[in-house]
């Protein structure tokens, strides 16, 4: 990429685009929550609400040929990456038009065209995959980045340790993005880690690592651009710890006994969308009309996606045994 990309795009249009992207994710997931109560969406549903700045900011630094590995909390990443909303929504419905043809559901969004290697529902299970994708690029002399998103809870897993060591030891082009929202389900960071500064853990593998305000989309974009530049330049991995917060329950089954309303409230006031809107109003004469236009276009897209998902077909039961092995046998 050109050094030009390195400087932050704080021009108005770019900011509006970031805002729209975040609102689009937020409203999409609010709709999903609604559809869940209507039992249109089933299984586990993990909402990203409050953390949108991370997926949106990081996405700005990624090229089409780059790869992504995410967790079960990946709707935002899928939408930011450019998987059509209709395909994502259809996947939530388990319809054949879904981005995983309905087999995966909310936790397993996949898309070959955008090199989206999934929603992985095993905590830290995606990190070794990211190491391997980056190894494949290195062995084939391709200058591509593999972005790997995971929560702070994953940092306690052995697979985190093994993956960071491999990426650093072999100098692989992985962008590790830790979405530190302070809780792993109901387990607060301070009762799960002796070292709660996650980026310090990354540094102990000799990986360049820093923290960034995960509620500030511009800061995230800047950090991600710098990280990707250095990865593309030097090959080795980079680690971003994004400090953020989950506004909603862990999943739809969580009664949130482990935290209080005040804490949630306080974080909501720092919300990434709220923050950016405030800033735009203050410095960029951002008008309610403009916001309205964004909200409307997002709403239209969501309604279309829902309508499409509703009218799409379920895969035939007769094809149950498909997609276990490839057709083309050796």
């Amino acid at each position: 990429m050109t050094p030009a990309n390195a400087k932050p795009h704080v021009n108005r249009n770019h900011l509006l685009q970031l805002l729209q992207s975040m609102i689009r994710i937020r409203r999409f997931e609010e709709k999903c929550a609604e559809l869940y109560t209507l039992e249109k969406i089933r299984g586990f549903l993990h909402l990203y609400i409050g953390e949108e700045a991370i997926a949106v900011g990081c996405n700005e630094a990624l090229q089409p040929e780059d790869a992504l590995i995410c967790t079960y909390r990946e709707h935002g990443h899928a939408l930011a990456r450019g998987i059509p909303m209709a395909a994502v929504m259809a996947e939530m419905y388990g319809k054949i038009t879904g981005c995983s043809h309905g087999r995966g559901g909310s936790m397993h969004l996949f898309d070959k065209t955008t090199r989206f290697y999934g929603g992985n529902a095993i905590v830290a299970g995606g990190l070794p995959l990211a190491v391997g994708l980056a190894l494949a690029d290195k062995l084939q002399q391709r200058n591509r980045v593999t972005a790997c998103f995971f929560g702070e809870g994953a940092a306690a897993e052995g697979e985190f340790h093994e993956s960071l060591n491999l990426a650093a030891l072999w100098q692989l082009p992985v962008l590790f993005v830790c979405e530190n929202n302070l809780y792993a389900m109901g387990t607060a960071l301070n009762i799960s880690e002796s070292e709660q500064d996650i980026h310090r853990k990354a540094q102990s593998y000799k990986i360049d690592a820093e923290t960034v305000d995960g509620m500030n989309v511009v800061a995230v974009e800047q950090a991600a651009r710098n990280a990707c530049d250095s990865i593309r330049r030097d090959g080795g991995p980079h680690f971003l710890e994004c400090r953020t917060y989950r506004f909603r329950a862990h999943s739809m089954f969580d009664s949130q006994l482990y935290r209080n309303k005040a804490e949630i409230q306080a974080w909501q006031e720092k919300g990434p969308i709220l923050q950016l809107i405030k800033w735009l109003r203050e410095y960029q004469q951002f008008t309610d009309a403009e916001l309205e236009t964004i909200e409307q276009s997002v709403e239209e897209e969501i309604n279309k996606a829902v309508a499409a998902a509703e009218s799409a077909d379920f895969e035939a039961i007769t094809s149950l045994s498909q997609n276990v092995y490839s057709e083309g046998k050796p």
Binding site: R42, G94, M107, V123
Partner: protein
């Protein structure tokens, strides 16, 4: 708090919680450790309230470190405690298999009998909640394969309530599987003195025409199938294995010597399923009693898909159980 002495209706979830509470009250060496057992209240709500009742030392939230805290459970057992380690689900137990197979199951043997590992490991198992391919495993058969382990599959309120306490008395490691579809099951709790020993299978329904053998989450489906078969004048006997290792082969053989027909229902994938082992045991110990080949209804050989209709198609269902039983008996 429910007294085991008075007859009450409770859910499977409450029964497990009662068992935990009783164990924590009756033995100071007992403690519960696992992911989100404390502040969250247990991923399936089983341990809700226990943190306030027993404190952080005995209701111990762990980091996401399955191998680490399961191994720590083995060590704590060696150190004189009676740990109950909860692995949130069998899906994540893959990360702890080294500690379970290479340490928990072997230390007594490798030490020539000097050390024992009085550890209880609980985990949720099974599919049915549309949790897709990584969160729907049924791997009881893997654990039932390992010498040194005992494996229990409580399928009733009574077993959910009483098996844990008996497992804690065992000087050897016991793995308890709680099927996710059973937690909301409600029933009358029998008196403690009516409880069965952990290592015996239980006749859940007397019958004469065919023996339906199952365990865990499939029991309700099988009992329903038996009722449906009754409508076609087929009198099915239902045997709940309860203990998957060691297997109560005596009860299996006894029942088949009476019915001469057997169908095994198992949520595991067919190839290499526990159902296969049961069939082989019948082959070896009751072959001449059989009037027809033993049949199996298992999960289809596919990772569990997310959509409801495909998940249902992948798992053992009432209709398939009934039709397979009828086929087996040659009564269409």
């Amino acid at each position: 708090m429910t007294q085991a002495s008075e007859r009450t209706t409770m859910s499977y979830r409450e029964a497990v919680q009662e068992a935990l509470r009783e164990a924590l009250h009756s033995d100071p060496r007992v403690f519960l450790m696992g992911e989100d057992v404390g502040h969250y209240g247990g991923c399936y709500g089983v341990s809700k309230g226990l943190l306030d009742e027993f404190g952080e030392q005995r209701i111990r939230d762990t980091p996401l470190s399955e191998s680490g805290f399961v191994g720590a459970g083995v060590g704590a057992a060696l150190g004189g405690m009676r740990p109950i380690v909860e692995v949130m689900t069998v899906n994540f137990s893959l990360l702890a298999l080294d500690q379970i197979v290479n340490n928990a199951a072997t230390i007594r043997h490798m030490s020539g009998g000097q050390f024992s590992v009085p550890l209880v490991i609980r985990m949720a198992t099974g599919a049915g909640r549309q949790l897709a391919a990584q969160h729907s495993h049924s791997l009881e058969c893997w654990y039932a394969h390992v010498p040194g382990l005992k494996v229990l599959a409580p399928a009733t309120i009574a077993d959910a309530r009483y098996m844990l306490g008996m497992a804690l008395l065992d000087p050897d490691p016991v793995v308890i599987f709680e099927h996710v579809m059973l937690y909301n099951l409600e029933a009358l709790l029998p008196q403690e003195n009516e409880r069965l020993p952990t290592d015996k299978a239980a006749l859940r329904r007397e019958g004469s025409d065919i023996t339906l053998i199952t365990y865990g989450g499939s029991l309700p489906k099988v009992l329903a199938a038996a009722e449906q078969l009754a409508l076609s004048d087929i009198n099915a006997e239902v045997l709940d294995l309860r203990c998957l290792r060691p297997l109560d082969t005596t009860s299996i053989v006894r029942s088949i010597s009476k019915t001469h027909h057997a169908l095994i229902v198992d949520e595991g994938w067919r190839t290499g399923s526990l159902a296969g082992e049961i069939s082989a045991i019948i082959m070896e110990q009751a072959f001449w009693e059989l009037d027809a080949p033993v049949a199996r209804v298992c999960s289809k050989e596919v990772p569990i898909p997310y959509p409801k209709h495909l998940e249902e198609a992948a798992l053992p269902q009432l209709d398939e159980i009934v039709s397979t039983a009828k086929q087996l008996l040659g009564t269409p």
